[in-house]
Symmetry: C2
Subunit: 256 residues, 2 copies
């Protein structure tokens, strides 16, 4: 592969340029990018100019750089995001119309949960934590608990032996306790987590399985943190996740 | 910029590899990619291997290549897609709950309409034409008519002097007639197009404006093709588009 200065490939550098953009800072100057990536200024300028030419970045009237809509469009050709999301969307709408809380669909990416869809509940006081294409460390949220509990032994070990991030005093960071939660999640075929990401919120999640019964995604809702709201949301979440599982069996191409 | 064989840059080649994946063919072999892009087989293998390593492509258990979820995630850092979509989503849900038809949010990309969100109407007999991240030539659909009518003179000329694609006998491909439609759309602040993409469907669209009154997106619904359905959907589409416009004025960062 053709290499840029310093042994790193152009493609690797271009990927790092894209990663320099974050939800909180969607527009950057070339100097910002150079500083965030450590790529020398002259090389950054050349790379950015080409990325703008290819539509991977856009330069606004304010002269600031943004990730191009073209990249968003190319990303939608990813079958796992596109197919599963399209298929699950009507079910998410149904679930949200019944529970009237934030409703989410998530995949596992490495040891993070990646939210591929989210319907937000307006007028709800529930804290707003996640967003589409947002991530959370898997051990901190109910979707992640589901995806880890049904994941491989290898994956579980990788998480349990890593530095476990803590959001609140209620975030579970003890490996032995997490192992118990995994077993509990498998037994109940669902997970609930209260106060783990934010003390005022609780998550309720259930697995979505593909044709060969592998868990490929998690469906979840975020409710105000109280035993009542959690127990009343749980059956709806589990039933809806099974509905999506059933639909997936008729459209096996919708998952990886 | 570092160049691959034949003078084309690695980044340009990588972009063409991503473009080889299309909605109908989400998984490809390296040979498929080489054939579709014209990049020699050995170079394709090297490029694909690096793209897999960077998460831009994924190799499934079936050994087939797909666009990586990582790319989808990076694409969501695009502010125009992410910000506008998030802001408009509750309004789209409201509109859909009232009109019970396919509801869509679109941007102009070149001379195409790019759909950045779509809520589908289940149980509707309306033909299913568009999808998220899908495109249509702008002159063929109501959203496109809105975006062209309020676009620059340059853009309009570019469309009117190009080869105008025809989907049905009702697709307007006469430049003089399209010019009249543009004027009509500006006068009515909305566009309707019946049978243009599919004889059984009609589109109803209205403009979404940013703070300085520039049209940045179009809101539309697809209804069964009859004068009644079109005229009953129109006020709801126009009112909702104005609601999104109003919301945008409080969140100017949501558009490019």
């Amino acid at each position: 592969m053709t290499q840029a200065d310093g042994g790193e490939t152009v493609l690797s550098r271009a990927t790092r340029v894209l990663e320099a953009f974050r939800p909180g800072t969607p527009s950057l100057t070339a100097s910002d990018i150079s500083r965030r990536t450590g790529i020398p200024m002259a090389s950054t300028h050349r790379l950015v100019a080409e990325m703008v030419r290819l539509g991977l970045l856009e330069k606004g009237p304010d002269r600031l750089l943004r990730v191009g809509v073209r990249l968003w469009e190319l990303g939608w050709r990813s079958t796992s995001a596109l197919g599963l999301r399209d298929l699950a969307m009507p079910y998410l709408e149904d679930l949200q119309s019944v529970v009237r809380q934030h409703t989410q669909l998530a995949l596992l990416e490495g040891t993070d949960v990646l939210y591929i869809e989210r319907l937000s509940a307006r007028g709800q006081t529930t804290v707003n934590i996640t967003r589409v294409a947002g991530r959370l460390p898997a051990h901190t949220c109910s979707s992640g608990l589901v995806l880890l509990a049904f994941g491989s032994q290898d994956l579980q070990e990788r998480v349990l032996t890593s530095e476990l991030h803590r959001f609140t005093s209620r975030t579970v960071v003890d490996p032995a306790e997490l192992r118990r939660r995994f077993a509990d999640t498998r037994r109940r075929d669902s997970a609930t987590l209260a106060g783990s990401v934010h003390l005022d919120a609780a998550g309720v999640a259930a697995p979505i399985r593909n044709r060969d019964r592998t868990v490929v995604a998690a469906l979840s809702v975020i409710v105000p943190n109280s035993p009542d709201t959690v127990s009343s949301a749980l059956p709806a979440v589990m039933a809806t996740a099974r509905g999506i599982t059933r639909a997936l069996h008729h459209h096996p191409d919708a998952t990886r």
